[in-house]
Symmetry: C2
Subunit: 261 residues, 2 copies
């Protein structure tokens, strides 16, 4: 019989640095998640990356040994599509982003256009970003006073080859040339992504744990909405980080493996 170290019913896990590192599962992750599920806890996975679909994430987790359904994954693409549907359903949008995000927006009823005749410019981590897209964003703002919304605030994204430019680069370029500010960024540490995740789990914030490796996003966001928080040291944050004493996560553990004994 396994002992779970926190009593909450809902468990939200960051992915990269927490459940896996690139293509390798963190040792013990499969057993920990299986034990939580066996004990009736509800589990979902959170990612700021808009580069893949929920199906892609579910496939990857399943392949690595954590059987997962697409509706157990919440990433910034799906959150942006849902949030924008509340703000302006069916609006014409121009997307600085990759095909999975465009697909998600189409699936949520938006008219994704290649020109500047739009009400929104959606800005995301986009490895195909270029001057033509930047110009279309500028024209959308100049001609239609288009509003700006973005998936995630990250400066860089860690990869096996090192860090590469993330959504902050695209946001800064658009803000600089348009003189307009991005009004909503839905990804971590925004409460918007966390609210979608809590709905997915069907639990209240106070009955939920946020587990992640980034103190400035995972832990800050969890604390802000009243979740219990667990910092894992298997990813980007080091044990001697001075912010740990300041922010005081409920638990600090070497890795996800230590959540169940």
């Amino acid at each position: 019989m396994s002992a779970i170290r926190l009593p909450q019913r809902g468990w939200l896990f960051d992915l990269d640095g927490t459940v896996y590192l690139g293509e390798a599962l963190i040792p013990g992750a499969a057993d920990t998640i299986a034990a939580l599920r066996a004990a009736g806890r509800r589990v979902a996975f959170l990612s700021n990356k808009p580069l893949y679909t929920r199906e892609d994430y579910a496939d990857k987790l399943t392949r690595l040994g954590v059987p997962t359904r697409p509706d157990e994954v919440v990433n910034s693409s799906i959150v942006l599509a849902r949030h924008l549907r509340r703000l302006d359903a069916g609006a014409p949008v121009f997307v600085i982003g990759e095909p999975p995000l465009i697909g998600e927006l189409r699936a949520h009823g938006f008219e994704v256009r290649a020109d500047a005749d739009v009400r929104w410019v959606v800005i995301a981590f986009d490895r195909t970003f270029d001057y033509a897209k930047l110009n279309t964003a500028l024209q959308a703002v100049r001609r239609h006073d288009a509003r700006l919304i973005a998936t995630n605030p990250d400066r860089t994204c860690p990869t096996a080859e090192g860090e590469i430019p993330d959504c902050a680069g695209m946001m800064a370029a658009v803000e600089a040339v348009t003189g307009k500010t991005v009004e909503v960024v839905v990804g971590k540490p925004s409460p918007i992504i966390l609210e979608v995740a809590l709905q997915t789990l069907g639990v209240e914030a106070r009955d939920c744990v946020m587990v992640g490796d980034r103190i400035e996003t995972d832990i800050v966001m969890g604390k802000r909405l009243g979740l219990a928080t667990v910092l894992v040291l298997s990813g980007i944050t080091r044990a001697d980080d001075p912010r740990i004493a300041e922010l005081r996560p409920d638990l600090v553990v070497d890795s996800i493996r230590a959540l169940v004994s």
Copy 2:
């Protein structure tokens, strides 16, 4: 005999909005410049645009009726190349910019590289800007702590088809992903471009006039270095702009034509 409205020996003219608008000379510009030259005044032309060579500008002015030699033109490419030569002659550089800037840097002895093994990232108005260049800039900063220098701070550039994204977009993207600040921007309103122009003319600041249509660059920069300033209303600044009363150019005229009677 023509009467020139200011006594200074040196005359610096902004180009777009002051001497021409796109492909059309401002009426009276050719006669005004000819009268200044005939009276022994020294004339040079200033542009923040790094998209063309000095030869391109001289050809255009000559074609429009203002005979001009390349060494009478000072633009942000030549100023950047000269300034960087003082800071770090012959350095390996990565350029976010177009071929005329790259040519100017090579002509000044720099090793222009396509990879991240550089000491400087040069950032300019670049209509071929893309994610790969942004990533190379990031890697240069991460691996070699490369320094950042830029041609001009403009958000947008006016064209016959409307405004398009200018250097501020490229700078903001690089600053956002690298977390590093551009340490020098050589173009207007920086004193650096004005100092190169004064050297070109061979006159002191107090014996020189800056003529331009942008109050926030041409007039601010001229005032800061102690030049006489003339605001022309043939370009972007309107007669009812509240900054005119605040900054008090020495003369405010409808166009360059009014400088000589």
